[in-house]
Symmetry: D3
Subunit: 251 residues, 6 copies
């Protein structure tokens, strides 16, 4: 039995509370078990220097944890004067993942800033961030459509992420909490689209390895989990979810 | 009339939600109008180098805003690699204010880390931080008492803070929201104790000055506001509030 | 008796030596007891980015101490690669104080850089900096008037600063030296104008509090001290002091 | 046809020149096509703080590119004062990969520092770094064995890495050079052991996605490539390669 | 006898391998004994801000050592987040030395970036860098001439550098290796031109001094060494060496 | 004629005002023409990590310029968060020069911190710093002798520095002011001892070269200048100057 009584292919309780921050163009408080992340999407009316005059937009992400999101207080990155490697890796992952389902030219020469701030951490913060940031992003684009700044939803497909891993006693399991993650031999983050394609696959055997057969089991679990998360995103987005299906049809 | 319909000596709606973050020894989500701050208190079992072997504790505070706490997205301090002057000033203020009502030797050689993270800002974030941090601090000490790590509540008196200012048309007003703050000629932060003593007084005429008579009006308003905030702190703390009164009596 | 024989409402010996640095548009070596600060004012023919095209000027200040200005050698901020919170707080205070008595549009789109470098410290360095920087600023503007770059003195009123505090045995005292400052329960910096208005009031009870009655005594002492400092500024400026009175009359 | 005439499942020319740097405990100049990386392994007789007194060793890696390793000169990380996110990600990957095949307790309380410095870049620098660093690491351990500092080879299995990707016209291809990498929709780095297990799998669709079927083709190509690289490592190590097989047998 | 059997006025074995890095406009691997430095020259089609619109070019240099170029691994400057004083001193020296023999207006408004990366160090890395960088620079200019971007070789004279020093037992010696350098009382770097003029002279008695007579011996040895290095540069450059002589004649 | 009427071998007016800063163990305000530098010497009762348990002391120097020491205001190094290459070069030079005339074991395991802060600059700030720092250092050691902390003066010889250069029209000149320095083709800093030995020689032809004959003229001028500076140091030190001669005799 898993430490919180779930079956091996079961997600934790997930909730996405939209418009959580009043100033942001799009925002979501995403809860996955005891992991809680505030995701905001901000629109800036210009692109970074290296993207100028290409007639397309850009999406970039930043990620951080409040010092006491963790069991032990973590030193603030602002205080140590630099961002850790782990944070950079996660920021790059979130940005890349979101860009993979967006038609950048349809955004116009704008930057979408995604901020994922973990206020409470219990494993899976990077995948929860992607799942929540997707919704915040769609909400920001809905705002642009309603303001008639852009004509069509630039988002081509749904996108969500979860983690899978191999537990010593349980074998392959879905959506690891912190205690499970600390114990697992293999840890894999899977980012997939609504149409079941892969966007990112990051599997790591920390001081361990994994076989081809184990990989197949992990992929199957991940695919199931992402599918369920996307159903929740559709519920949260309601009518607006259709804008994405329309964008897809057009492809 | 003020922009949100309040009378000049009226606080905004205030709420303090305790135990908001599961990992922290003490935590509060403090809401003052549209300003929301997560305050956590963390206990570390040692003091900074310059305090060692003096038989007393230390209290230090850090303050930050999520990038999208503000109307316009603010660049993350971790990204720019350094903490701004404004942040440093606020951190120093919060720490100093809390230390003024704590009997440091009673804490033992421990550090209390206060983290105030503004998740939504609408003026008065530093004073809301102090008011909320006080409660988080008391909760952390209650934990130490319950664990029999320390014997008595080291907190000697209640402490809360608010802002007052002089509005061009309204004159002296209490608890400025962001729009009021941006318009005010004079802005003053007042930190006071439960027994009505001053702890900090920071009055500033940004490109303006203020008279002795105006100062007296501001002090009166501030005193009223802090009194009401302390009543709310007592409600939130319930039975534990008495531990502070007892500590006071003993003095 | 105070440790240097002064009465409780007595300033230390004060001197302001003008044109101390040959390259600067305005400069003063200000001496307050054993505290010595070189204040320079530099004119730059543009304003910072956020101020452009608003038809007004800007005043900004930097403050530093030589490593051996202090009893114990202090590590250079350039060596540690960042400015301390204390320095930032002081820099912001000096800039804000000076701006409060300047008619920024009359400066034209220029920046006035104030540099206050403490070469010897014995308490009250931030208030001595403000008092000296005011004179350096006026001298720089006199230069602009003489060069017919601007027409009128943009300075509307005199400005000086001093510290007051509550000593354990002496009670309220004026212009604390370092030893007094280290002993005082309460420390307040007061910045006032020639017409007796307040510009900044920063009162702090480090691990202590102060009553309303004590506050009134401190304000009275501070007001006396600032009045005397402004008399000295007028002497140093000689004929040029009248330019400020004229600017005031015009108001 | 691929831009350099290779078939889709063909590696570039690979060479590993051992003992390239006279001071290092182990060193290799690894050449993969036009990509050239100096890999050194340095032994330090202590472990980082967080690893002390656990009776095992640690392996950490640093990666950098000379400014003119690239087509356009890249700004030096030392000059910009911080390491980029890309570099951090690669450093973490190399360290993690190497640790997965090492029996850390057998190293004793030592740190193995791996430095991978790219002197010429033409795609695949991170995978070439892993392949070369593995050999440098083994050479350093051989030195410890010959000096009788440790008894047995702590390396449990061979390890090499390559990249695979999906080209618009060619479909899945092995070992992408820079031009191919810039064109590919999907890019995957595969790190595997001598016994055919996975250690790391990092697949990314930059502004694209990939299907389950495509993933299977990529895994097959990667597995073939890594197998060939490990054969080359065995040749370079000669007799010493057997020490690893022995370590394996013992498992 | 010197530790490697050389006579006191004998250089170590010197080799310059040109076009070592395929991407660079000019490149050389320079070997002086066991010291090996990759020198590249990169052309950028603009000059730094402070040089704009002056109708002339600029030459700037960066220098670094791979962490394991040294006997003991050196911490990477990128990791510590700043360049050491030693590195800055060397970078400034290399740039200044090269600029002294270049007719900057003939370069046009371009920047020549010189990168000297020491891959193995055994004393004299800064002088080897200058000697090698000179050749890389000439090769880059040859490229500009061949592309008809500039008309004439902007290099007016040859330039090379070596070190001399005073050994406790041997007296004045030429081209010190690391062990000799660590033992020498006096260490002098000499940069000279093909016509025997001095460009830089940096003599230092670390915890020692040197007499006028000793200085004369050092100058003589240095002059001999530089002369031999320039002969080697001429061999390496072959026909292109004449472009420099022609530039000289024209003067 | 030189721009200030001096003959080619004439120093500017030089003054050294001792005990300028009350807190420092040794201090001097050195004036050379319009160049003014505050030099302080601070004693710390331990040595840096790399010097421990060797039974000898260490001398280290820091150098800085006030922002408005220069014609145009210079950005503060603390504000830009790093020390420039020029500053590092000068700091290293001052420390090295002073160490060359000190018998480090006689200091005991102490560090002497030299701080040279330029309050007004008109050329020759690094050489004025060395000349003044020497006196501040001697004063600090006199204090240690008088306190009977050490027995003998650890300073073995006098030390002073000046600059020489080659002016286009005047030829070789001594002690260049800023305008002369900006015009000179060749600039050389010479540090010498009381017994006429060289300690440092740093000659640079910025975009120029110099001949052997010119070098000899420069050395002669520098030798004359340093001799005169040392006479002034002896006057300033008075009786204490003899402590250095005695130290010398003993050698």
């Amino acid at each position: 039995m898993r430490n919180d009584g779930r079956s091996n292919d079961e997600l934790r309780f997930v909730r996405m509370e939209k418009d959580y921050i009043k100033h942001a163009e799009g925002s979501v408080l995403v809860t996955v078990g005891d992991t809680k992340v505030i995701c905001t999407a901000s629109i800036e009316d210009r692109v970074p220097h290296f993207m100028r005059n290409q007639g397309k937009g850009w999406i970039t992400a930043e990620y951080s944890m409040l010092p006491r999101a963790t069991e032990q207080r973590t030193v603030r990155e602002a205080s140590r004067g630099k961002v850790t490697g782990r944070t950079m890796e996660i920021q790059r992952l979130i940005g890349r993942a979101l860009r993979s389902v967006v038609d950048l030219p349809k955004m116009g020469e704008r930057t979408l800033w995604i901020d994922c701030d973990v206020i409470q951490a219990d494993g899976g913060t990077r995948t929860a961030s992607i799942t929540g940031a997707f919704v915040a992003m769609v909400l920001a684009f809905v705002g642009l459509i309603e303001a008639k700044t852009i004509k069509k939803m630039p988002v081509k497909d749904f996108l969500a992420a979860t983690s899978v891993g191999i537990d010593n006693s349980e074998g392959p399991i879905l959506d690891l909490n912190y205690a499970e993650d600390a114990n697992a031999n293999v840890d894999m983050n899977i980012v997939m689209t609504g149409s079941g394609e892969f966007v990112e696959l990051q599997g790591t055997g920390e001081e361990a390895t994994f076989s081809y057969a184990e990989l197949q089991s992990l992929l199957k679990l991940g695919s199931k989990g992402v599918g369920e998360l996307i159903e929740l995103q559709k519920e949260v987005l309601g009518e607006w979810a259709k804008l994405i299906n329309e964008a897809e049809d057009e492809k």
